[in-house]
Subunit: 221 residues, 4 copies
DNA sequence: GATGAATGAGAATTCATTCAT
DNA sequence: GATGAATGAATTCTCATTCAT
């Protein structure tokens, strides 16, 4: 968090103000502007000119650093995904039980989505486009690092009799993500459909608690 | 030919083959083409020319019937939402218990999404665009007709002691939708992230069963 | 000759001033402008904007009628080649002898090139580009219609003992074209290299006569 | 590496590996790349970036050594023309007769064109552009060195009665060049028009022989 | 109701050239 | 001498929309 995305100019080998530093800064400015605009308006809804205007750079630089609009989009996608990796650490390691670990995961993921709307947006845009660019990313970025840990937790929980034995780690992860994602992916339509303001922090908090209880107990008494 | 996809030409006041009928058919052809293209490529990714080519009509007709590209998109959105109304009937009315009713709702919704990919797509496109057009639609279309029925079911279930008392009808509906939607909204990225082919019917069926069990029991033994 | 290239608006079915007529006129104006500019500056040296400015039409019309810059170039190439077909008629039909026929051909071709600089230019540009677009043209346009007639003339001339027996119709045609073409294809460099103004009609006339004599007698006494 | 294509690094004053030598080598690499690309794609079809990529040098170097793209083109043109000077030597000096000398000239020129396609290309590009850059070259390069020798040969041939007296040295040279050049300048279009593969060495050899016979005897028996 | 030609603004991308280091 | 980042104008082509018929 204190290691900002624009780390390029923090490189000690590239002193502030040097050509290399300013170049990296330019690249980063473009990427940030693109990230914001792609998230807000999608790939087709964003023009290179808008990115250029937002980043206050010469248009040619976009092609200098990213080769094409598609390349710029791919870079933005990669950047946003690498943020997700910050979640994993410490969720499971010191959890007193499998149940607590799963609840922590739901909580952390729910809050991550709230704090990273560009992640949600880019993820959905990408899926709507058939996941084209996502397929090009290295699996280091796209693989859920949580999955392995989650598998162990679930195995232990089942073995100890804490968790129901039919639980599958892959579908469990999807369930967890679905319970969180829906509050952000369908925020605008759901707000109207169910008559709740899903932009209101209190509503979101209530949603998280509701999902946690569902997870723990199901709906049955 | 006289049994077009849409209901327009079925209007008894518009005899088949009449000018009025052909006019309605033209309108319907445009709307169907737009629906498909908007779902596939989104608003910005679809050009009026593509719709015109797909519908095999004169470009001017789009503006005749829908005034603008935005109008066409709104019509497509409305059409796709009206499909959702087909769900409600008969889910709750003859359910033996509240639990069964909720499980039925999850099942029906899950399968509805599978069979209506354009609904999923347009819904997500719309949310990504801030729900602008959705807000313009009449609440007859956007209100979840299930919500009232769901509320009664839940109230009864809680009263009878079948359901846990903290269950909230609005968040419950969101939970249900989230458990279903995630399989379609994030199909492409999740397939890679968790290593499952979410396009495979068997995988989807397993996902539905997993969600149903979670709903019923939670994860705890 | 009195059937101008812009024949579209002469179509009796399309009265002058009608929409169809004006549309054809627009297409023709674009083609004429393109012809002139491509001949003068080549494919890469000509911008669509320049064509648009010269034709005084909206840029979109170029793509409406010719789909792409390449399509426009191909149309120009085809147009210029169809002009060549005007040569053939009556060169050989009433020639008193094979020798006279060959000399007439040289003369007519030489003068055709003089009067059709765009033909020369486009032909050379096309060869420099590897003949790409030429290959796409229908053979009706690209086949030398003279070749068959020339073959007969030469056969008769050889049979009657008028012509040397080793003469080959294909290489003979190439020789004839080469003797003419060089005066136009290399006009600027040759003018300086040999110290003649190849733009001067008198010089060109002298060149034609020199080529005719060479053709008739060779250089030997 | 120390035997570069150009003569620059052979300069004894610039020892191999010295800064001067490497500088000359850089210049030469640029020139060679430019030569090849200008010949293949023409002036407008070649971008400085392509030259830079082909020569694997820094873009700034082009401007350092050649001031501008035009300067680079002029240098390429000059280089290619200086190759032509290699023809002259020894064609006429020991020819047994004027006729043999002319035939040798045709043969040598024909083969020179075959072996120097960049010469043909650049020559034609230049003519199509109106000979602009050619006019800027020093006459040492552009003057046909053969012309004087050819004049003497022809004068002697006419005087001795070997050659026809109306032969003009300038038009004669043009005739000779035309008979050769056409096989290369119009290679692609003629191949299709006359139905011969002008890329085939055997066809070219037949063409040369045909031209030689025409030169010697004309077409008449 | 239906047609297709026409428009001008804007799309992504590339151009030759210069700058600071 | 050599580097590569930076520039602004120009490139081909597409956009949503309107016009006259």
């Amino acid at each position: 968090m204190n290691r900002s995305a624009a780390s390029a100019s923090d490189d000690p080998a590239a002193p502030v103000g040097s050509r290399v530093a300013r170049a990296a800064e330019t690249r980063e400015r473009i990427l940030q502007a693109a990230l914001r605009l792609f998230a807000k308006r999608g790939y087709d809804g964003t023009s290179v000119d808008e990115v250029v205007a937002a980043a206050k750079i010469n248009k040619r630089m976009v092609y200098h650093y990213f080769a094409s609009k598609q390349g710029l989009y791919a870079a933005a996608l990669e950047r946003v995904f690498s943020q997700l990796a910050t979640i994993e650490s410490g969720i499971f390691t010191d959890a007193p039980s499998a149940g607590v670990a799963l609840e922590r995961l739901l909580t952390v993921y729910f809050n991550f989505l709230r704090e990273h709307p560009e992640f949600v947006s880019l993820l959905l845009w990408e899926n709507l486009q058939g996941g084209r660019h996502f397929k090009e990313l290295s699996s280091a970025v796209t693989k859920a690092p949580i999955l392995d840990a989650l598998g162990k937790i679930i195995d232990q929980g089942i073995a100890s009799g804490e968790l129901r034995p039919e639980i599958d780690k892959q579908h469990m992860l999807i369930n967890l993500i679905g319970l969180c994602m829906i509050y952000y992916s369908n925020q605008h339509t759901l707000s109207r459909t169910v008559g709740l303001d899903l932009n209101d922090p209190a509503t979101l908090e209530a949603g998280l608690q509701h999902a946690l209880r569902l997870l723990r107990h199901g709906f049955l008494q």
